[in-house]
Symmetry: C2
């Protein structure tokens, strides 16, 4: 726990699942959520900076959960690609980005952090998904807690 | 094996270690290598697109290797942060980026794929590292093959 860390103090998104070791949130605010609606983050509960700060057991559990999220996104949304990343340069509290990417999204095939390649989907990209995000949230929650 | 895949046809960098399951290369060409000299990639041998295409055993072996690279970078170079990512939007053949980031690099704290935050280190950022990249390569190779 770090008093100065926004991921220790706040949820960091809409919480869709929580275990003793981590929580999973969906990014719901701002440009990221509008452009990349199926954007989830696994946020480790303990305040550690690097993936290699975890024990081997915790690393395996962490990536098992990341993969379960990825599998839900692939199964329900059939994205062109799934992007996984843990950067943490701004907020050095271990969190994994799990992002469904589509060949029609504003940045594809560039990373979400790069320059846009085309105009945004009018009204928000969520309208292009195969089903509502609430249904994806529910499937992610079920995949992580069953 | 895909005839059209550049990571099936070529090495994708300077090979520093190779096992039956994967190879690890250092990025040696172009702007990325100049700006982010301690930039390694673990490239899975089989032509699969997504991390979740691997078996649980292979995923654990893959991330164990990624962590060994990260540990070498932390130990030898004391980076401000290590960035891990598998994107594959352009080349959908599973590869993990393992990048040592420094608060003085041209993009920090932004991702390496975002816009630069400051001028590059004159003469290349490798000159700012604590030791030559060949020594880092040797340590990565030893960590992955012993």
């Amino acid at each position: 726990m770090s008093q100065a860390c926004p991921l220790c103090k706040g949820d960091g998104g809409l919480v869709v699942a929580r275990t003793p070791s981590f929580r999973v949130v969906r990014v719901v605010d701002g440009e990221e959520a509008r452009r990349f609606p199926a954007f989830y983050r696994l946020i480790w509960a303990a305040h550690v900076a690097e993936f290699s700060d975890l024990s081997a057991e915790d690393r395996n559990a962490c990536m098992d959960a990341v993969v379960r999220i990825e599998q839900v996104l692939r199964s329900l949304l059939a994205p062109t690609k799934v992007n996984l990343a843990t950067l943490g340069n701004v907020v050095p509290h271990l969190h994994w980005h799990v992002i469904a990417r589509f060949d029609w999204d504003s940045h594809f095939p560039a990373p979400v952090w790069a320059a846009a390649q085309r105009d945004e989907v009018p009204g928000g990209a969520a309208s292009r998904l195969a089903l509502p995000l609430q249904a994806v949230d529910a499937a992610v929650a079920q995949a992580l807690t069953c």
